[in-house]
């Protein structure tokens, strides 16, 4: 087993990895940029070394600096976490050159499975279905129309040069095809100076479901089941859960087998995630492979009882996957929310700053993968993920109830967070029924807040609203007293005074 692992990352995932190291008796080496000296991962690591200025391209993305720390610190392995260099094949190559083990897939497997086009080619060879369509430009509209017929409508016409929805048309029937093709090509020409189109099957409100796989260096590949990650804001996952509310045992087996076939075809080793879209008829289509630990790995850990980071380390050290793992049965249900320093009133724009005080939830079924602490200043320079809050329950209902309870306990003073977004999502009937798709949250956020169902005590004029108004008045009164520093207004002698608050101005926010 390794003696010392360099963690080439920061924030909650660096903390997650160093905790695994500590539990295994392996020394952990953190790295930090100039703004991260006081970061939690630096405080908790066994060793920590500076690697340069705040911009990540001058610190966390500098392979040379990382390898230098690894060598100086006598590390025998490197864990990349997720993000930064985690899917950059140059890092495993540099590790190999330095005689240090990379905790992740080999560089070749990373490249052959990690790139979207190479992954799709591999998927075709491994008999894993991808979203049907022409990846090459359409030469002949009539031929494309015939293909659309075979794929069955609706289909999407997309500009080869496109992006941002320009030159894109949703086609519902063969009758619409010709005019849609004309419109889309001319729009594409206007927008990009390139009128070429390609054809893709349109998946109506698909679920994002991904399979966690593990492969050892001895040819064994296993699936640890799926995660449902359909709740996304602009293609960014915000809530993940395991198991998926739509996946049946039969579908689980089919998707797991497909993911394992793909991993074998790519000679994959270590942890990986095969992402699929699943349509309403439970057809699944390969999307891409993430050749690393996922942000959302804890939900799989909570239902399987496995520690995926420790598994990654063991596999990198050459251990075999024990046979028993193929027969692992998930228990209960787990759900994760990603708590970000974001301003919900300003389109979830990052909102860094100093955490003046906070209450974090705890108790039965609650796990917090924390990357911050009270008194710390969230820097401006990186992804503003603060912590991941994970709830486990015997059932999906219990997991949701615990998550909702934990979110009520969670308070932060000093920075804005997206916690309110999750409270809102957890009240949505669609979500509670598990009927969400990858565009569901974006749709929801376009709807006015008051249209959604609300518990009675959310309404203005409720006890909560009264209490908030009273708190505002008292806070202001205390504040005035402090600013005035007039001892007469402190509690030493009864002082009668009044303060009036405009309760009419008290309105509820999302």
């Amino acid at each position: 087993m390794f003696k010392k692992i360099l963690i080439a990352n920061r924030g909650e995932i660096a903390v997650r990895i160093l905790r695994a190291c500590r539990e295994l008796g392996i020394r952990s080496v953190a790295v930090f940029s100039d703004v991260d000296r006081k970061s939690l991962h630096v405080r908790l690591a066994d060793e920590a070394y500076p690697i340069g200025p705040a911009p990540s391209r001058e610190s966390y993305l500098c392979i040379d600096k990382l390898m230098d720390v690894a060598r100086r610190g006598g590390c025998d392995a490197v864990h990349p976490g997720y993000g930064f260099l985690a899917e950059n094949a140059a890092l495993p190559r540099a590790c190999t050159d330095a005689g240090i083990t990379f905790i992740g897939p080999p560089a070749d497997a990373m490249e052959s499975l990690g790139s979207k086009t190479a992954g799709r080619q591999l998927a075709r060879r491994a008999d894993v279905p991808s979203v049907p369509g022409t990846n090459d430009p359409i030469e002949n509209p009539a031929e494309a129309q015939a293909l659309a017929q075979r794929m069955s409508y609706p289909v999407l016409l997309k500009a080869v040069a496109g992006g941002g929805g320009k030159g894109m048309r949703l086609v519902h029937s063969t009758a619409e095809f010709e005019s849609a093709f004309r419109d889309a090509s001319s729009e594409a020409m206007n927008a990009f100076g390139d009128d070429r189109l390609y054809l893709e099957k349109y998946l109506d409100r698909p679920h994002h479901v991904e399979i966690q796989i593990f492969a050892d260096a001895h040819g064994r590949v296993v699936s640890l089941g799926e995660r449902e990650c359909s709740v996304q804001r602009r293609h960014q996952k915000v809530i993940e859960e395991a198991p998926s509310p739509i996946v049946t045992p039969d579908l689980r087996k089919k998707m797991g087998d497909a993911a394992v076939r793909l991993a074998r075809a790519g000679r994959y080793v270590n942890a990986g995630t095969v992402e699929f879209l699943v349509d309403a008829n439970l057809n699944f289509y390969f999307l891409e492979v993430n050749t690393r630990l996922q942000v959302e790995h804890p939900v799989t850990e909570q239902v399987t009882g496995l520690d995926l980071v420790k598994l990654q380390i063991a596999i990198a050290a050459g251990h075999r996957l024990p046979f028993a793992w193929e027969s692992i049965t998930p228990r209960g249900h787990a759900m994760e929310v990603r708590l970000y320093a974001e301003d919900p009133d300003n389109d979830f724009f990052p909102s860094p700053g100093k955490i003046l005080s906070r209450n974090v939830p705890s108790g039965p079924g609650i796990r917090l993968d924390d990357g911050v602490y009270e008194g710390w200043t969230v820097p401006n320079d990186y992804d503003p993920l603060l912590s991941k809050l994970i709830a486990w329950g015997n059932s999906r209902e219990e997991a949701i109830a615990r998550l909702r309870r934990a979110l009520e306990e969670y308070t932060v003073i000093g920075i804005k967070t997206n916690a309110g977004l999750f409270r809102r999502i957890l009240d949505e009937p669609d979500f509670l029924r598990g009927e969400v798709h990858t565009r569901w949250l974006d749709d929801l956020l376009r709807r006015p807040r008051f249209a959604s169902s609300l518990a009675n005590d959310h309404r203005p004029g409720s006890a909560a609203s009264d209490a908030a108004a009273i708190a505002a008045a008292i806070w202001q009164a205390n504040q005035s007293d402090r600013q005035a520093s007039q001892p007469a207004f402190f509690a030493d002698q009864p002082s009668r005074w009044k303060l009036e608050g405009r309760r009419e101005q008290l309105d509820r926010r999302p």
Binding site: L356, S357, N359, R404, L407, E408, T411, I413, A419, G420, R423, D457, H458, A463, A464, S465, D466, A467, A468, A469, I470, A471, A472, A473, I474, W475, Q476, A477, N478, S480, A484, Q486, A488, F489, A491, Q493, P494, S495, R496, W497, K498, L499, E500, G501, R502, R503, E504, Q505, L506, D507, R508, R509, P510
Partner: protein, 154 residues
């Protein structure tokens, strides 16, 4: 309309004219635990740059603006009393909705003199000193401008 009154340890609160039992303590900076007739609320207060307050409780968010009537009378009563003859001025444009005193009345410091409505909010103007109402210039229903003399306490 919320009115607060602090005695030795607790707040007495009037909510739309109804007295409610409120037990408020600070449990952390900008965090109040409020017991409102037994109901427990943990409320965090975040001041906005525009002077409004954001309030979070149990996952709900509210926005409030507090207007401190002490600012209106130009001084904080309950501390030392103002001395000499005092003109009571309208703190902002509004309408006199109620006169609480008449000429010749004896008033205590802090006693309400009249009620001004502004921005849909009723605000009681109180006496900065104990004394006698020398003159009342305001009339019920009358609109007033900021700085207008409403009455005089001598």
């Amino acid at each position: 309309m919320i009115e607060l009154e602090r005695d030795r340890v607790a707040w007495r609160v009037t909510l739309d004219g109804r007295t409610v039992a409120v037990d408020a303590v600070e449990t952390a900076p900008n965090t109040l635990s409020i017991l409102l007739e037994g109901q427990s609320f943990e409320i965090t207060v975040t001041p906005s740059p525009d002077g409004k307050l954001k309030l979070h409780t149990n996952g709900q968010e509210f926005t409030a603006e507090v207007i401190d009537p002490r600012a209106w009378s130009g001084r904080r009563h309950g501390a030392v009393e103002a001395e000499g003859r005092q003109q009571i001025l309208a703190p902002m444009p509004g309408k006199i909705v109620r006169l609480l005193v008449k000429e010749g009345d004896h008033v205590e410091a802090g006693q309400g003199l009249l009620v001004v409505e502004a921005m849909k909010m009723q605000n009681e103007i109180r006496s900065p000193k104990s004394g006698v109402i020398e003159r009342v210039l305001a009339k019920e229903g009358q609109p007033v401008n900021a700085g207008e003399v409403l009455c005089v306490v001598a």
